[in-house]
Homo-oligomer: 203 residues x 4
């Protein structure tokens, strides 16, 4: 039950974050096509951030799927993740309104980096509670995807000041890496479809 | 359980979309009846979009009623639908503030079209997972309503540049078509009330 | 299950309505006590509307407590109620920013009236589905409170143009009438605590 | 079930409060680092208020964990708490935009004080319904933390007019006191981990 309420609260916050970002898509003053073009870069930023929040929601879902008990540490690690995700609307609007200016792009990268770190901390808290032999720990494995993402975010912040468009390319790239749903957890949790799975476990 | 969380998240996003549209109903500066009249067209746009989101919520509800397992494809098809629905507040405000100017009206039609396409994709994903003999596939049948809607949206976009009020009439018309709840699914799922229903199925 | 999702969606919309009203409480430009006073009337309007939404949430809760099946009519009657409630932030802000100007006060009364009518329609739909001998029908009885409220709203709209403060007094009065939780339904549903209750029913 | 709906509604309101605070983090007009610095104090205020709402959500969760039936008094005490919490975005934005000006800082303290009083009232309502020998009453005990917080809020309001930064230090201090999760309730509810626990109770 504890877990259900944490999931419901997180879903609520993520649903609001994903939706209030669209409030930054200000209604243009004119009525022509050029007025529409003026919101183009804000729109593209919205698309990218929408995909990122979707990815986090999806992975959050997998993460808690295998969790039974919520400790105080998990609860605050989850709030920490929600905090950084709540900065997406701000960062998205700033970078979108300024068409890839260096500082906003770097800040966008920082928010992505800190959200990824918060996710990593949350994941570690859950694994710590379940033990190193848990399904989740096995599913995550060496967490190559997570580590590569962190590295790419760091690079994106470094290059943002000189080549903001390259930083943004990296942000799109990481999103594409994660768009592929995290089959590791799915596989570990549903070994029926995996002929090599031997670990017996309840549903 | 997976399904419950997807439904809860979608409900959250739809509830927020339906509610933040009202934020575009800016408080008028004056205090007389003419001040009220100035928000009239925004209000009518809000009414139409409220009905559209209500229809989508209602149909979304029917769609997932017969779904048991949520795959990665269904999850992203659902997020895709939520994305296009999240553009309703923007499109509604733009068309409402400019009293049926051609470009905003065409954009409103585009958002309606893309949301309808996203709904069609989601429906196809669910049917693909359940198989062609599923209740949902039988309930949808040839999906005449869906196809007529797509055609009318296309026509509305085409005529918006010359006769915006005709495009808006089409948008109202499609809403009226869908306001009638989709009895096909209800019938297929509850054949007790349908004397001709023979397929045995659990609840 | 149908009912649960309708309740969850309504809760989401009501939670958002109650919360975005506070967005109209704009941060004052000064930092002194007189700056605070400038938001005083908006604040009082917020308090009243918060109480109204709280009352609707509470009564909505009682209404669906005794409902099992949700028909298409109930679903749209519920959306109709949510629509009128969604206009509370607009009406509250307009009346609050103009300190009881005649037209905004009358409009506030109209929104209250239409929300009350929508609630009445929803209640009638639920009773129509459950039959005239249902617990809910017995609990509502002649619905004196509902009818008095409608009459007071009508009077408030009529007097708003001449004595806005009297209209507002009526709005506060109706809120006080309803602040007393609707014990009729509670009594009918939990007759154990009512020595005169004889109707046997499952929990 | 009653309780579930109250929890879901409260979660929704808290999720929205925590998220709309970020809307006050206005996108700066420039694109340089100094533009970022201009939102620094609003950001710090957001962090503090985010932590406060997180603490309230966490404690709310513990409070209702041991509650079975929701009475009218509990319902309205809960709405009262949500009301004062809903003023956090306003108070946070005002104090953040004016970098610790005396009146906004005092108002922030008042909102904290009134939310704490509302929480105390809610807690008392729940204990009154459960009886003085309930687990919750035992878990709360003399409620030292609650009383110290109220005292510190009062002091903060008093000193805000002369030393706003000292008042803010007190606000941070109280947050730190509560950041430690309330182990009293957890202990009383899960006495298995507490060798001294003797009260037999169902899970």
């Amino acid at each position: 039950m504890e877990k259900n309420r944490l999931e419901a609260f997180s879903d609520g916050v993520l649903a609001i974050i994903i939706t209030i970002m669209v409030l930054e898509l200000k209604v243009p003053h004119g009525v022509g096509l050029e007025a529409l073009k003026s919101v183009g870069s804000v729109f593209l930023g919205y698309v990218l951030s929408f995909i990122y929040v979707g990815i986090y929601w999806n992975n959050h879902h997998h993460l808690f799927h295998s969790t039974r008990r919520v400790t105080g540490a998990i609860l605050w690690a989850n709030l920490n993740l929600l905090f950084w995700l709540s900065l997406f609307p701000f960062a998205t609007a700033w970078v979108g309104e300024n068409r890839l200016a260096p500082v906003p792009t770097a800040i966008y990268g920082c928010v992505l980096l800190l959200a990824a770190l918060a996710y990593y901390i949350l994941q570690s808290c859950i694994i710590a509670q379940q033990g190193p032999n848990s399904l989740l720990a096995a599913a995550i494995g060496r967490d190559l995807k997570g580590k590569v993402s962190l590295a790419l975010y760091l690079v994106s912040i470094a290059v943002a000041c000189w080549h903001p468009w390259m930083a943004t390319t990296l942000h799109v790239l990481v999103a594409l890496i994660w768009l592929v749903p995290d089959r590791r957890i799915e596989k570990a949790l549903h070994p029926r479809t995996d002929p090599g799975g031997q670990a017996g476990h309840e549903s």
